[in-house]
Assembly symmetry: C2
Homo-oligomer: 374 residues x 2
Amino acid sequence: MSFTLLKKDKTTGARLGVLKTAHGEVHTPVFMPVGTQATIKTLTNEEVLSAGTEIILANAYHLYLRPGEDTIKRAGGLHKFMSWTGPILTDSGGFQIFSLAVLRKIKKEGVEFKSHIDGSKHFLTPEKVIQFQNLLGSDIMMPLDECVHYPVSRDYVEESLKITHDWARRSKAEHVKVKEADRKLLFGIVQGSSYLDLRKRSAEEIAGIDFDGYALGGVAVGEPRQLIHEITEYTASLLPEDKPRYLMGIGTPPDMLDAISEGMDMFDCVVPTRNGRNGQAFTSKGELQVRNAAFKNDMQPIDESCTCYTCLNHTRSYIRHLFNTAEILGLRLVSLHNIHFYVKLIALAREAIEKSEFKKFREEFRKNYKTKSK
Amino acid sequence: MSFTLLKKDKTTGARLGVLKTAHGEVHTPVFMPVGTQATIKTLTNEEVLSAGTEIILANAYHLYLRPGEDTIKRAGGLHKFMSWTGPILTDSGGFQIFSLAVLRKIKKEGVEFKSHIDGSKHFLTPEKVIQFQNLLGSDIMMPLDECVHYPVSRDYVEESLKITHDWARRSKAEHVKVKEADRKLLFGIVQGSSYLDLRKRSAEEIAGIDFDGYALGGVAVGEPRQLIHEITEYTASLLPEDKPRYLMGIGTPPDMLDAISEGMDMFDCVVPTRNGRNGQAFTSKGELQVRNAAFKNDMQPIDESCTCYTCLNHTRSYIRHLFNTAEILGLRLVSLHNIHFYVKLIALAREAIEKSEFKKFREEFRKNYKTKSK
């Protein structure tokens, strides 16, 4: 068993656990910074580690196109290629193929698409995606699935689930071809859009295949915030207790705390780096746009309670100047702060669960946190 | 006396010295990374320091426009604004005003120009430029001068020198208004384009005013490489021995070693960061374009003899991938390496002068260094 459930919170669905991977232990709940192209955007590994990061994400689809199989093979896998020594979870890229790639065509066998970079034609099967993730040396692999957007018809979702479930079975079959001692972890992905009965069907089918963990896919693809949490809470209740639960692509700090409360354990999101590059900082008091003219002469750090390099060394005034003059250091400093804030927030949530104070922790956070998002 | 000449090389014009500033000692020869807008492009102060940097450059003209006097004043000066605790030399921005600013008009009193950012009108006098550098708290200030481009008529240069020399005298007069205990260093700038007799006239006039150091301006503004070195060698020979000599805006690694040999002590250049952001790395074996397809599967560091973070942690293959996928980390890693290489090269030159082996050091460097520039 790779996962040990250490504790269940009494007043919420929050859980405390530890996941063993080939490159070290991951303590859950956990936030995983996103390094789509084998780099957490703008940051060095050293900086990502300094935030307390235990595991990062990369994207098999992107790495399959660039740098490609040959380079990854010669480097000796993804860890060596990017010099990251900790655990890596790789997303299959299903989401990217279905949202970014032009002319993608789903067949029973796999998915045909043209590269978003050079228009070259590719055909990926569930087996091929597992093989590539084996080549990457991913600690946690995700199977190819169809990620549908919102809103979508019930009929479409029913047909789509057949493919996703079939691909899940084929992924598992491919995965067990690797001898047990060398085998990494493979998670299953539950789809079903906003149809709760289809989520149930999917959760049962996927759990029946027996994966090392379960992910909730196809959330935050256009549906209202309230619906995301309904789907999350409902689906989490259907998943095996003894396996980690990963909510894909979520979200803002309050979203993550809500999802922990709903029983989810693992999170990834591009928001801290993407928004960071636009000057949006996350703090214990809420969201802050450092480019704002109000900060022109503000000599405080972004967050006075933060211990990241940015907050220990630089003022809002200076960081605003960097954005104002299009200096790359600005993007770095806010991205670094945000990753630090996200990783630290979830670490604090772990502490709170440990002390049986998570409900209070979440409520206090929400009370102090100013946000414009609904 | 702020400058102590420690040693003169016997076989070349190379010198060893130490310059005392309000924020620490600077050992010459020295390379000063350029932080035009109060940031060495893409890098943190910590990274700049890790390269062994003793002093950095900033640009008064740029900082006058953004963030402006008010913000600098409220921050308590440039050091606090950018959190840099070491010495800072600020260029007046004469070069930028004369090359970038639109509709600039030189009058006897000063220079009128429109901001390159928003077209706003400004009038800067030599006095005003010194006052602003006092506000910045610069350890070494440069006076406003007219930097002429190449080629230019002798008549134009003769007229221009009158203004530059007059402004130098007025800058000095403004500078001594600060009481001696608080007074920072002020350098004079020798102009004269490619006319050696005008360089002589300028060197004599400027030296006559008695500055804390002497800079050679208006070089590398379009003239052939050979001519740069003729002007440098000739002018250096006319400058007082007991003051530091600063060659403005030069250059490639071989250029700097040549200029040291010609008797210059201080250097700044945007090349390591500007070219770094384009993927050009400087190494002990010459220049290398990491975006080159040849490096696709090259698992060596940029420079195997280098001890910077980039070379200790990452391969050419990975860095090429970062450039290929437009990832900011690529710009950072090559900029960091280049600054490290430049600062370290000049530190090695200092060691060689110390050991009376500079001539040999320079020849060996040249022998191993492959470059495409003439």
